[in-house]
Every structure is written in C-alpha cells, then in structure tokens.
C-alpha cells in the first residue's frame, strides 16, 4: 500500500521515516555487515537464528531481526483494517483467551508494558495462541514460536503521531489497522508447518 494509505491512523510522514529511513537502514546495514562473510546470500531467517546465539547476540542480529520484524509489521496492517477477526482465528482466540476482549486487553497490556524499545506479538506454538512481548529486535522466531501479528512499540513507530501516548497508538492500531486476513493466513501456515 502507498505511504499515505494508513492515514489518518498512521501518518504518511511516519511511514516515510519508519519505512523509508529506519527499515531501509536495517536492510542496507545488514547487507554491508554480511558482505564477505559466511552469512552472505543466506536467507534472512537463517541469519536471524544464527546470530541470536542463544541471547548472546552477534553483531548482525539487530539489523537482520529488525529487517524481518518491520516487513512483518507492514504486512500486519492494511488500509481499513481493525475490527474483529472471524472464522478459525476467532475461534482459537476465544478458546485460548476466553474471549476476543480478553485477548485484546492482554495484547494491549503487553504492548503498553514492554519497557523501552520492543514489540508485542500474537504467536502460535504447541497448538496454542499466546501473547508475547520482546525487547529491541528479539522476535518469536528465536523463541521457538510462529509469529502471527506484531505491533512495533519502539518510540519511532508512534512518536510523530502520538508523542508519548503509546496506549492511544496501540488502540488505534488494534481498532483501525490490523489485517486479520494476514493473521489468519499466517495461522494456516503455522498449523501446516507444525503438523
């Protein structure tokens, strides 16, 4: 979608910087970092798993994971998004969180209480849905689960539009931006991969 497609919920200016500067820099810097190394030419997820190094992060991890996280984030949103999910995804949310509202509150709380920079996720593991929050560049891939949905809570993700009001940003994301279609198809893929 174009950079202004998510307005008024996420401004064109935010996308210009967030995608055009921050995300681009992660990609460009990663390319420079792996040039001439054994990681050059490897798939992004391979680089992420390799450089996570059980939490003792190797230098390319931040750029690699952030490049992956941001692509996943853009695809987690759509113009005219938000509302409630349906079908199997809704059924599983109701099964694992008691209700959609309980999931909504738990996801909100995770995003609001991730201190400093990081991400909140809906993830799938062992046939269960769960809400996870991670610091800086860490994502559920390195924690052994399938990411289904994410919100970026680094300040650069919301500061131009919301300044310090992270809770307002999270609500706007949930109510107006989430692409439940993307989440549902990721759930399909996750179930297929684990069977």
């Amino acid at each position: 979608y174009p950079l202004d497609a998510l307005e008024p919920h996420m401004s064109k200016q935010t996308l210009e910087f967030h995608w055009g500067k921050h995300h681009r820099a992660y990609v460009d810097n990663l390319k420079k970092q792996v040039l001439g190394s054994e990681l050059e030419g490897k798939p992004l997820e391979h680089i992420i798993q390799n450089t996570y190094n059980n939490g003792d992060l190797l230098p390319p991890f931040n750029n690699a994971a952030q490049a992956w996280n941001h692509e996943f984030f853009w695809e987690s949103m759509k113009p005219g998004g938000g509302g409630k999910p349906s079908g199997e995804l809704l059924a599983l949310l109701e099964r694992d969180f008691t209700s959609y509202e309980k999931f909504y509150d738990e996801f909100n709380a995770a995003a609001a209480t991730q201190f400093g920079a990081g991400w909140a996720w809906l993830a799938y593991a062992d046939n269960k849905l769960k809400v996870v929050k991670t610091p800086n560049a860490v994502n559920p891939l390195v924690l052994g689960s399938f990411p289904l949905l994410t919100i970026d809570v680094w300040e650069h993700a919301y500061y131009l539009d919301f300044q310090n009001r992270r809770p307002d940003y999270i609500k706007t994301f949930m109510n107006n931006l989430v692409s439940w279609e993307a989440v549902s198809s990721r759930l399909e893929a996750a179930k297929a991969a684990s069977s």
């Binding site: 910087f17 500067k21 921050h22 820099a25 931040n62 201190f115 400093g116 920079a117 990081g118 610091p135 800086n136 560049a137 680094w154 300040e155 650069h156 500061y159 131009l160 300044q163 310090n164």
Partner: protein
C-alpha cells in the same frame, strides 16, 4: 472578605498537602517532578522547546507518578510480609525510579548557552578529561559514537569511578542508572538517547542530535559534582 477566603483556601490546601506528606512519612518518601532551571525553549536550536516540554511534562512526570505508585505498593507489600509481591515490584521500581533519577540529572546536565551551556570544562575536570581522553574532542567523539551505536533505548554517560579514581565512558540500557554498571560509579554527564529525547526534531538521525547536544551541555555542574566527589 474575599481575600480572607482565598487565604483560608490556600491554608487548607497546604494543610492537606503536608498531611499527605505526613502520611507518606509514616511509610515512604514520595517524589515530585523537579522544575527546570530554564525555559523549555532556552536550549534551542540544539534541543527544541517542543521536545523539552513533552520530555519534562510527560515522560519524566510519568516516571515520577509510576515510581510513587510502585513505592506505595512496595510499602504495603513489605508491611504485609508479601515477599513475592515485593520481588515482583522490582522491575517497576527500577524502570520508573531509574527514569526519575536519570532525568533529574539530565536537566542539570543541560544549560542555555547564555548560562554557560557548551562552555568547555576548566579546572580539575578539564584536566582529568585531557588526561583520560586526550582532549575534550576525544571524549565527545567517544561518547557520541557509543551513544549512536546503542541499540534500542538507553543512556551514554561520563562517570567518575570513585574507587579507581578515573573517568569512564559507559552506556546503560533503558532507564538503568549508571550505578548499575558499577557501585563506585558517579554520573557526571548523561545523555538520553531514547528516541523521545530527539525524534520530533532529528527524526532517525540520532548522530545529528549527538553532534548538537554538546552545545548545551552544562560542564559547570559536571565540574561541581567531580570536585565534590574527589574530596
């Protein structure tokens, strides 16, 4: 008569204030947002007035409010002997208490140009900087590089190691105070590199913020701290 009632209203409200402080004294000391010793716009163009106002009135105020809440919960848990709640509260205390401690130092680390902001340190601190880093430029280059390289949120510090009697440059993550990197470390200058400290003005270009912030660093305050710790 109107004047009398205004006076009595003010007396009543100050009574209320001191009685809630008394209640606080029974258990814990709570905190308030310190005033800035300069106007929000006084650090321009290095740091915009918009950033200063939001940084002080919103971010720092939130740390103070949440720190006080955590302290009250801690007080209750301690009095009840609820050990697991006491332990659970530690991260909220570290985040919010650290945020209050760090920002209180930060406002003193900054000064308008017409109040000495940017003026190089003289005296003992100036000499120590030359000894340990070759020159002020050497120190600035090192701190700016470490601040730019910091992933996520945190601070870059010039500190005094009281035990080893030397200056150090170090970084801390999130709102960890410098003392978490070493019990004998005293913060002299801290630079906030959380995105909220510069984003509205410098956007993603943290290195530009780090280049410009030195123009408003209050070396007089850092020297005072250094000299009093060296006694």
């Amino acid at each position: 008569m109107a004047i009398r009632s205004v006076a009595s209203r003010r007396t009543l409200s100050s009574l209320k204030e001191s009685s809630s402080k008394l209640l606080g004294l029974r258990g814990i000391q709570t905190f308030t947002l310190p005033d800035l010793p300069y106007d929000y716009s006084a650090l321009e163009p290095a740091i915009s007035g918009e950033i200063m106002q939001i940084h002080h009135q919103k971010h720092h105020q939130t740390y103070v409010t949440n720190y006080n809440n955590a302290l009250e919960q801690l007080d209750q848990a301690v009095n009840k002997g609820d050990a697991s709640t006491v332990v659970k509260l530690h991260s909220a205390i570290k985040f919010n208490g650290g945020g209050h401690v760090n920002h209180s130092i930060f406002w003193k680390n900054l000064a308008p140009v017409n109040q000495g902001g940017g003026e190089p340190p003289k005296g003992a601190l100036g000499g120590a900087i030359d000894t340990h880093f070759g020159s002020l430029e050497g120190l600035v280059k090192k701190m700016s590089a470490e601040g730019a390289a910091l992933q996520g949120s945190g601070w870059v510090w010039l500190g005094l190691d009281k035990e080893l009697k030397k200056l150090v440059v170090d970084t801390t993550a999130n709102q960890d105070p410098l003392v978490t990197k070493g019990g004998s470390l005293v913060p002299l200058v801290g630079i906030d590199v959380w995105e909220h400290a510069y984003y509205l003005q410098y956007k993603n270009v943290r290195p530009d913020y780090l280049k410009n912030v030195w123009k408003v660093i209050n070396w007089k305050y850092a020297s005072e701290v250094y000299e009093s710790e060296c006694k």
